[in-house]
Symmetry: C2
Subunit: 332 residues, 2 copies
Amino acid sequence: MHIDELPTPAVVIDLDLLEVNLATMSAALPGSRLRPHVKAHKCTALARRQYDHGHHGFTCATPREVLGMAKLGLGDDLLLANEVVDPHRLRAMAEVQDEARITIAVDSEETVDAAAKAGLREVLVDVDIGLPRCGCRPGDAGRIADLARSRRLEVRGVMGYEGHLMMVDDPERKRDEVNSAVDILLRAHADVGGDVISSGGTGTYHLHDRVTEVQAGSYALMDTAYSTLATPFRQALTIVGTVISVAPQWAVCDVGLKSLGMDHGDPRIEGATVWFCSDEHTTFAADEAAKVGDRVRVLPAHVDPTMAMHDTAWVVRTDSVVDRWEIDLRGW
Amino acid sequence: MHIDELPTPAVVIDLDLLEVNLATMSAALPGSRLRPHVKAHKCTALARRQYDHGHHGFTCATPREVLGMAKLGLGDDLLLANEVVDPHRLRAMAEVQDEARITIAVDSEETVDAAAKAGLREVLVDVDIGLPRCGCRPGDAGRIADLARSRRLEVRGVMGYEGHLMMVDDPERKRDEVNSAVDILLRAHADVGGDVISSGGTGTYHLHDRVTEVQAGSYALMDTAYSTLATPFRQALTIVGTVISVAPQWAVCDVGLKSLGMDHGDPRIEGATVWFCSDEHTTFAADEAAKVGDRVRVLPAHVDPTMAMHDTAWVVRTDSVVDRWEIDLRGW
């Protein structure tokens, strides 16, 4: 099938660019140095490619992601890098522990208690290293670890996510601030113990020689927000649309905000200026006149929520569709 | 089931408030004066309630919505208020025309041609009345109608959407500008003919005594953006979350930007200040200290994309879950 025959809006992954991204990252952070985050694509077929590049442990954000990865045989070492207190979902994960290794983040008495009650075996202590979100206070990490061990949970180590530093522009400042965040994490680790010190993302993956593993996800497909950083990763994801209406000053394609993560703003279209997005439309002014039926490649501003809006990704080489991947880890 | 037992993030619809909204709208615009837009909820169970309030014609934004409505016996009079040139989807709609009445918007030679070739029977001429999106130039409407008739399409009339006026604050200015937009639509209608003059939305439904029908959708469930307007409609939709982490200055719940339409900005939480949303989290400062496990009701800023992110809506009366509705019109 030719790319122009796809029903639109279509999630299109350029396989060659994806492979460049996967190879570049696995050269920088080989094997277990990278724990790819599946929340950025929610696609086991893509995770399998990451596995084939040597990364056998994965990061997940939801129980559904954990269970989906385990079911497809990608459960060598799954970290749910998020807090969960839902007893049903915790138990569902505990039930697959004989086929998959599952570790869950804890940052409070309540999350330790919920994990222990559900029969989960292994945890990481999630530490706040500067982003106001989950994670215990750093000085509390040792106490949480002791509490977990008292509940017969194996404490594998610590994690922390310096999400507030991903988009820092100045490389010197970024390095310094990441180092300060890692200092906090290492001090917490001294109190916690264990083999794992997990942190980082696509915006800081190159600054993490003091942790045991990095949790990057966006590097595989990329988006226009991360593309503003000087990373070696290429934009492998586009949402292909069809022009459905043309006016003298603008054109409209069928890629709208129901098919694009909008929290980082409007998407980009090469050779055009995006005016705005509506539910099912993007209005744009093209440098060269567009015609009804033309195909348009829309570059999303944020890869993670964009992937979560679709059930299928089309895999292409140049203009040929070579595969169809289910986006099979959606939901919670 | 009690609302606190729902797996989170959970789409929760307050049935009493929904019924207030449906009754209020059907009193203002009874029967065929309203053609409810299903894109705002993508849920046939909710559409059936609108049907039961006397509105037997519906507006759709995608072929999937049209086909889903037709399949569930809600196809008395379905308007696809959007341009489509995909021959497969047009043909799929043409194939159900013996069970459902389907009318599609056209605004160009190409869209007329695509509708005729697919075997569709009825069209509306979509006219640009001020929002830079779809719709032909007003002076072109008669020519498009003639072209459609020459292709043996029945031309039912005109539609136009004054989306740029929905959020105008000043009631005088809004009335004037809506009237000017309707003037354009009526002049186009004089060139086109047909029984239907379709326009409007939740922000302008009360200003439309000169059109035959109004296409409002958001009124049923509402969102924080529309709630800033002085409408009689109540917020019937919340996304219920669970607090999963608490720090001295903030708390975090499991409703993130993958479960919230973000194009209108951050959601609101009563009794709290929302700091920011991440993929799976909202960080907020609560007026009264939150505890891990607490339930939080998050009010989305934009109803349409929010509903499109979920597969299930839970219907509640006060705190009891009384029904579960599938959000079954998702996708394209």
